[in-house]
């Protein structure tokens, strides 16, 4: 493969033929200046204000939609019987799935010592948190009486009512709240040393003060670093089973129900793979414009985009296997209802959604991502990431809607049609996500400086004649 790329490209490592993870010629100071400069600059780019305001304007959709929802009730949505789970659940699963790639990048790739992840890890984690914020909104407003949403948690109350722990919906509360908490903690712990850097480089007294507080007095002491590294690894080790469990539990919301199309054992791995697939697509959707806008091509290189596209290819393959297995099982189960569900999913009144899903999730990405040329084509990847995100939204739509609106009894069949309020809140959460993300890139270090420093060649300690082994072991 390496022969196809131009040999004199400075971004290509001549030994491996791969794109470099970080452009040559950087040193500790230059990477710090580059990343800290984005946050500490006194002249914010005009485009940032534009983006923030655009995000904020769209986010008003959530505010208006929720206000009307709280005044009128969930009747303003398209949910009805039999289609009692509509956009709210589709969007919840979609958003939380998007969040999963952030944890995958920050935790699983750390454990596998994939150092290329260092440059994209911070904003992927930020993406996770904002996606969880958007996701968490939906079940809360879907409960009908959102002011009583705290009833979901086990707490002593005068009514003596407690949650019922045999229900996947109660598991969900635990899974998602743990996920949100651990993601925020992991994100913050990762930023502590960088806050120290920002505190030391800030010139404005207010910035010094704020970053100083946030850094908790970080001073880079070696003993601190060792404990810090230990805690990071532990958090990564804990986040890995966590991220796999969260989407597994969400898939249980469906799989535990005795409904054709939901009641399958393939759901947990298939949901997790789908989550990572859409999450990586979202990382690309965010990374490509950001690296261009802030000129971060040195740190988020084509290698990163190429690797992320490869992960998408892999997880997309698992998703395709999931789709195939669903079709196969609907025949192999010899269940009349399963068979009908699949027929209805493909050729029923909402069959178009299934074919959009196959086109956008399977046909387009899984045929083209094999080509290295396309994997390093930035424009193509950006368009593809939008296509895959659309596809993954349709996957959830197909799962939620087509199983519900035509179940066992034809007399209880109905249909599902989303209302303008459904669309308004959904689009609004995209605005909220954008708004939060713009705030993040302006005020927090979006690339972990301390981890980028570790990727530079200067990091290595060169040992001379006498090394640690020759030093006499002494105990205090």
């Amino acid at each position: 493969m390496a022969t196809k790329v131009p040999l004199n490209d400075p971004m290509i490592d001549p030994r491996t033929g791969e794109y470099a993870v970080i452009a040559p010629g950087h040193n500790f100071k230059s990477v710090t200046q580059k990343i800290a400069g984005i946050v500490l600059t006194s002249n914010t780019p005009l485009g940032w204000f534009f983006g923030l305001m655009l995000g904020g304007a769209v986010a008003t959709g959530v505010v208006i939609g929720c206000t009307w929802l709280f005044l009128k009730g969930v009747g303003i949505w398209g949910v009805t019987i039999p289609g009692a789970w509509g956009f709210a659940i589709i969007n919840f699963v979609w958003w939380i799935g998007i969040g999963h790639a952030g944890t995958l990048i920050s935790a699983i790739l750390l454990l596998f010592k994939q150092t290329w992840r260092n440059s994209i890890n911070r904003f992927a984690e930020a993406m996770t948190i904002f996606a969880v914020v958007c996701a968490g909104t939906f079940p809360l407003i879907h409960v009908g009486r959102p002011w009583l949403a705290y009833w979901l948690f086990p707490y002593p109350n005068t009514m003596n009512v407690w949650p019922q722990f045999r229900s996947p919906l109660a598991w969900d509360v635990f899974a998602v709240s743990t996920y949100a908490t651990i993601s925020i903690v992991f994100w913050y712990v990762g930023m502590i040393p960088d806050f120290g850097t920002l505190r030391d480089r800030a010139t404005m007294p207010f910035a010094k003060y704020m970053y100083g507080l946030l850094s908790l007095g970080w001073r880079g002491s070696t003993r601190h670093w060792i404990r810090y590294e230990s805690a990071s690894l532990l958090l990564a080790g804990l986040s890995t089973p966590l991220v796999l469990s969260v989407h597994t539990v969400i898939s249980f919301d469906f799989a535990v129900a005795a409904l054709a199309g939901w009641h399958t054992t393939i759901f947990p791995p298939y949901f997790v793979a789908g989550a990572i697939y859409s999450g990586f697509a979202m990382v690309l959707t965010l990374a490509i414009p950001i690296r261009k806008f802030y000129h971060l091509e040195d740190m988020v290189t084509l290698r990163h985009l190429d690797n992320m596209a490869k992960v998408m290819l892999g997880t997309g393959g698992i998703v395709a296997y999931g789709y195939g297995m669903e079709v196969f099982m609907s025949w192999y189960s010899a269940s009349h209802w399963e068979f009908f569900m699949m027929w209805n999913r493909m050729f029923g009144p909402m069959g178009w959604a299934y074919w959009i899903l196959i086109l956008t999730n399977i046909a387009i990405p899984l045929t083209s991502l094999w080509s290295r040329k396309l994997r390093v084509n930035v424009t193509y990847l950006f368009v593809l990431s939008l296509i895959v995100n659309t596809g993954m939204w349709f996957e959830r739509f197909v799962i939620v809607v087509t199983s519900l609106y035509r179940d066992y009894l034809p007399s209880s069949w109905g249909t599902y049609r989303a209302t303008k309020w459904d669309y308004m809140i959904y689009v609004g959460t995209m605005g909220l996500f954008t708004f939060l993300f713009f705030l993040f890139v302006r005020f927090l270090p979006m690339i972990p400086m301390s981890e980028i420093r570790m990727m530079l060649p200067q990091t290595k300690v060169k040992r001379g004649g006498s090394d640690a082994a020759s030093v006499v072991e002494e105990r205090v």
Partner: protein
């Protein structure tokens, strides 16, 4: 309790991690014990030179995890068996397999919080004031691109003149006194 006035130690600044590690090893060899390195990213060799190997963060994390799993499992059992028993499709009140899932989540929750806050607590953070910040060159480099070794005055072997002479034999950019 170390004295809160006078000199805290001598701070040597280095340009590369290699120089820092060599100086630290030599200082340890010369008998200094109360010292600390400050680096912009984790330098494991420096920790080795300081003979700092063991952290208690994993232990704190383990205890947190055990606490989480116990709390969640006992809570679920108490709630669904005694406090608020409900017959859900004839399943036993003590549905232990179903209880595993929230217990699993709380294991991770408690373990993760313990690891993070345990690390912060063991590091003595938040500690917004520290004498090394008084060194004029510290904040310019310690979190960016410079490597520091601080030999502390509480070390019995510390002597302002001798220790300074000792540090100056290394290719240090500067050796400065740090006040409390």
């Amino acid at each position: 309790m170390p004295p809160r006035e006078g000199i805290y130690g001598l701070l040597a600044e280095f340009n590369t991690p290699t120089e820092l590690v060599e100086a630290t090893e030599a200082a340890r060899h010369a008998g200094y014990r109360r010292m600390e390195c400050y680096t912009p990213y984790p330098v494991e060799e420096a920790a080795e030179a300081l003979h700092f190997h063991k952290t208690r963060v994993p232990l704190v994390c383990l205890l947190g995890g055990l606490m989480g799993v116990t709390t969640a499992y006992l809570m679920e059992t108490w709630i669904n068996v005694w406090a608020y028993p409900l017959n859900i499709a004839g399943r036993p009140l003590f549905s232990w397999p179903a209880f595993i899932i929230p217990a699993y989540e709380w294991t991770i929750l408690f373990a993760g919080l313990s690891a993070a806050f345990g690390m912060i607590a063991l590091n003595g953070m938040p500690q917004l004031y520290h004498p090394v910040f008084n060194a004029p060159n510290f904040r310019n480099g310690a979190t960016t691109d410079k490597f520091f070794l601080c030999l502390e005055a509480v070390d019995p072997q510390f002597s302002l003149t001798e220790t300074r002479k000792f540090l100056e034999q290394f290719p240090a950019v500067s050796v400065v006194e740090v006040d409390h």
